[in-house]
Symmetry: D3
Subunit: 255 residues, 6 copies
Amino acid sequence: MNQVRIAELAWPTYAAKVKNGAAVLLPIGALEQHGPHMSMNPDVLLPTAISERVAAQVGALVAPAIAYGYKSQQKSGGGNHMPGTTSLDGLTVTSIIRDVLKELARHGVRKVVLVNGHYENSAFITEGVDLALRELRWDSIRDFRCIILSYWDFIDQKTIDQIYQGDFPGWAVEHGGVLETSLMLHLHADLVDMSQVRDHPPAAFPPYDFFPIRPEWTPESGCLSSASRASAEHGKLILAVCVQGITDALRTAFD
Amino acid sequence: MNQVRIAELAWPTYAAKVKNGAAVLLPIGALEQHGPHMSMNPDVLLPTAISERVAAQVGALVAPAIAYGYKSQQKSGGGNHMPGTTSLDGLTVTSIIRDVLKELARHGVRKVVLVNGHYENSAFITEGVDLALRELRWDSIRDFRCIILSYWDFIDQKTIDQIYQGDFPGWAVEHGGVLETSLMLHLHADLVDMSQVRDHPPAAFPPYDFFPIRPEWTPESGCLSSASRASAEHGKLILAVCVQGITDALRTAFD
Amino acid sequence: MNQVRIAELAWPTYAAKVKNGAAVLLPIGALEQHGPHMSMNPDVLLPTAISERVAAQVGALVAPAIAYGYKSQQKSGGGNHMPGTTSLDGLTVTSIIRDVLKELARHGVRKVVLVNGHYENSAFITEGVDLALRELRWDSIRDFRCIILSYWDFIDQKTIDQIYQGDFPGWAVEHGGVLETSLMLHLHADLVDMSQVRDHPPAAFPPYDFFPIRPEWTPESGCLSSASRASAEHGKLILAVCVQGITDALRTAFD
Amino acid sequence: MNQVRIAELAWPTYAAKVKNGAAVLLPIGALEQHGPHMSMNPDVLLPTAISERVAAQVGALVAPAIAYGYKSQQKSGGGNHMPGTTSLDGLTVTSIIRDVLKELARHGVRKVVLVNGHYENSAFITEGVDLALRELRWDSIRDFRCIILSYWDFIDQKTIDQIYQGDFPGWAVEHGGVLETSLMLHLHADLVDMSQVRDHPPAAFPPYDFFPIRPEWTPESGCLSSASRASAEHGKLILAVCVQGITDALRTAFD
Amino acid sequence: MNQVRIAELAWPTYAAKVKNGAAVLLPIGALEQHGPHMSMNPDVLLPTAISERVAAQVGALVAPAIAYGYKSQQKSGGGNHMPGTTSLDGLTVTSIIRDVLKELARHGVRKVVLVNGHYENSAFITEGVDLALRELRWDSIRDFRCIILSYWDFIDQKTIDQIYQGDFPGWAVEHGGVLETSLMLHLHADLVDMSQVRDHPPAAFPPYDFFPIRPEWTPESGCLSSASRASAEHGKLILAVCVQGITDALRTAFD
Amino acid sequence: MNQVRIAELAWPTYAAKVKNGAAVLLPIGALEQHGPHMSMNPDVLLPTAISERVAAQVGALVAPAIAYGYKSQQKSGGGNHMPGTTSLDGLTVTSIIRDVLKELARHGVRKVVLVNGHYENSAFITEGVDLALRELRWDSIRDFRCIILSYWDFIDQKTIDQIYQGDFPGWAVEHGGVLETSLMLHLHADLVDMSQVRDHPPAAFPPYDFFPIRPEWTPESGCLSSASRASAEHGKLILAVCVQGITDALRTAFD
């Protein structure tokens, strides 16, 4: 029984922790292809792993991850035409976030951190938070506070330099690339097969989005940049940086 | 890498299996209190465990479980006022099912089994299936077929007699009772603490539902019947019966 | 002018009764085939008849019945592929219930009994009640209470034994069978033609639901069990038992 | 068993009539106060009565009336603040219409007449029809046709002159006035109590709507004009004119 | 910088005006064909012009116009099958109104005038106002008041007589006719080409609506009556009458 | 009459241009505070100006701008707590886009460019496009194509260097800063008052979003960086670069 996982607690234990003011971290991911070398769940596993480590540090709890997310976009996730990528409508994502937040508030939770692992979720999470706060206000709950973060926003320039050696292609095309693959190698090595990495230059896109998607713009691998330089060691470093950064932020963010 | 878990496959492997006609099982659960002696995730873990075993038998795949479900009802789940129980609006549940099914269909999947672990989900799953089939029809996909089942419906009278020794209180009040606790003891013993079981007679309710809920009608434990006679051995038996029953059904159901 | 039917009262009379604390019963039905021997409105007429008799006993009022309900399911209503069955989406049913309850609350009604006559409505009624209570709470109305019941849940074992003589097939397959036909014979004999009853054994279904529906699983009649043993006398008894049971329950339920 | 009422037919009879090309009339009403002298269901009873007479003439069928409608507006129905008036959100009305039409189309019906009895429903019925036609088109059903009418639009000038003797206040303020009261006196005399009619000049409103409603603008009776000159004889005439007009229209409208 | 246009103010100026109690006028239009002789934006430009003139008189502000409206109906706008007519679903119109009103209320605005220029918008505006007031009530804002008006309702009989010389076809068929064309000639002469006016008698329709639309019922021009007698002079008069009438009304309406 | 503005064309002219294959540009903005020195409509005026210039170059048309957008976010627009900022729910934005695109498609348009002027709209526009394409597919329209772009994405590094002289704070905090102010100075000088510019360093935010918003994180001006170095000359350059870039892109994008 992992003491930070809400789902693994019996309700009286959970209730007591909430009463003591525990914050709740909610990992939000997606089921999305990440190339031929990796499983389709990094967007769930990575924010979950980070959330659990952060929670252990700050005395918080982790709610079950949201396992399906918003539609993969071509320029950040390869596109929603890929096999395996399994996405929800925007309203569905927003409704899930809204409903879960309201229930946490009903339990007495007043501090929630939404830990996003899938770029495309961002706006729909934000809308879910806004709708939840609106309804909580109608229920006279005015002290409920949320933080929304994407874990990669806590990776500092120094770490980027160290890992990419000046070759950082930008987060935009990091889908299935060095960042995610390294983290997976460190955390879930059995879900990565480096022999299947396709080495290709970062995908280059025009400064607009085209619909219906032009499949030929996405590299055949489904990745937007090559994971060939990924390593468990890099993953360990990135994880440490993210966990530390988020932990530091949370120590004071709700004050 | 578990070969039945979609989330753990790389997309080309998944695509190949789908092309070969693999069925997909989708476990649908809830985050719901199950008494002071057990974690809050049996409705997720149990259909997942069953789905994975069935999938291994019939050459199917298992999609990531839906971790949050419809509102707990007092007469089947203790009620949605309990701490820890974290539920979605009906439309949200329906939308998730609709969206996921449509995506599976887009991948080429044509046979899906929705394995429900939380009684209250039933009608909203059904509606999600109906809406998905409607939209797929509009996309000229007419050969997509679904089975909806609740795993406990595969437990036969003989097994019930063997376990309950004539004292079966009915599935209605089995919430957090012998069935679920036994399965959890067999599958996830670390998430059960039998010393915390509250022994009390099965909850008795009038033949109607009352709203707002009358909390005093739910036993303080949150369970609707006592788990004191639960055992890992019972759980092993129930699991075997369910897996066998569902496996047998699936071997011919889609023909 | 029937003094329990809200629709037949002038508004000042209604307003006065509400001011005096009258409860309101809301019959909720469906337009659904019930076999070749019976009209398609038993799910409306039966809860209406029961509601009016109960209301007369307890000094309550009856709102106009909801005449269309949720989609007929194969294992409880023959399936929504049948001609004549005319169903609403789940959200539509839920919205009707939510809206009507909020209006009754605006009038000053504080006790509502939702009398269901169509099994498939159940979950969507429950959700409608939950959404109404939520919005009423936002309007600072916290003393509004609802009871949801299905009339057949008030038929006791003794009555079942008397009618079925040990051959009770279970409520699940009672669609268009002895129960509903007997009640209709007693209450609306002109809407039943016993010469058209098809005698067949109760429908037998696998322990799962299949979509799109397999029409061949439903008996050609559209009924799930035979009405051949139905009689007006049985109907009279069932009606009396239901009216008495519900009346008794309502005398104290809101205390 | 009334042979035009769908609800009173057994399904094989209904199916046969539909196969023969029968049109379906759907009365759409409201539960709305109509003054201290009349029941709250004229908007349901009147279009129903007209529909049944028209159906008998043209060999059509009548579906169960929609008993709840859109919110009463002050300048046409007294306002939605009145006790007894029980209204639905616009989307709910639209959804009911959409769903029912789609089901009728599934049965094979290709001609539907929506017979409105409540002015405020109009736009939401129109939207329901538009949404239904859209979805039917997606189902490749392109020969489904609808007529929307409000029965009072079939009353000609001659009849108006005969009844109002030059004093016609306009349909706008006919709520609970001579028109509806006369029809009710003719058709449902037991639901009218002429001794309770309040005699007052027609309500006068500014050329705009004000929200929240100004209750003082609505006459205390809830009627917008006086019913004192109503009579069963007038009602008989109006009914005949409406039935004839609609019958004539339907004889060729779908050609 | 026009001092009545909210969009052209810097926020501190706007905030100050709102603090001083300024009312806000919101023009609501449509993008809809108005015949071969006129641009497709009269329903936006006309209520905007009127709103700005009224606002200048009464010290109010004008919010940006809603440029797209509800679906054109055949008997009031020619029908939604016409090229160029670009319409929204009813729920979309309602949602826009609801959202904008709630935001104005958040700013501190307490008096809003919705100035409609497109007949078909009416009911959906009303519903938007009702939903906004409901949610504002939940936010404990109870002093927010709205007026909904259509500018043509302020044209008095004298003006009609003067312009139409006894030949007034009724507002119903004024689409693209003398009224709108005259106003456009006065206000936006460059958007009218009188040489393209098609002279035809007013469209005549049966007393019902038919769906899918019968295109042959709409004159080929798309107008429902002829604009041949339109003139800038008429437009000047109509504008003056509307502005004066609305100004007069607003001077006391909110008291 | 501007020949690229759809709203200013008579319908036969529009229909002819569409028949000839004209693309349509749809500017999408917001009503949002942009500091004390500028009007609240730059997000509408700027994409409109760019769209009209591009349309003139490539023979396209411009639809009326969407004047209200998604909720302003603190780190890109100052936050939705600011006076004057008037925003829509995400679903409302999505619905508008979906509805307008479907109507354009009905007219025969097959190429649409959504020109975004308000960062926060992005995801909801994308969802609107996806929903429209889905429904068009159901209508068997499969050759409808969309481009989504934000105009600032066409400003190249050279231009940035020239304008910011190495001091570019990033688009993220350009809200009400040099970019938008310069463009407004060039295009709508009367809507800018440089004397009201507040000079302050770019806003600095933590790597997460906080809700409810912390107003103190937004500079008092509402701008996220200082516009003091804005000039009409810069605006002219930026406009030229954007128009050229988008024009170039559109010349081949739909091939």
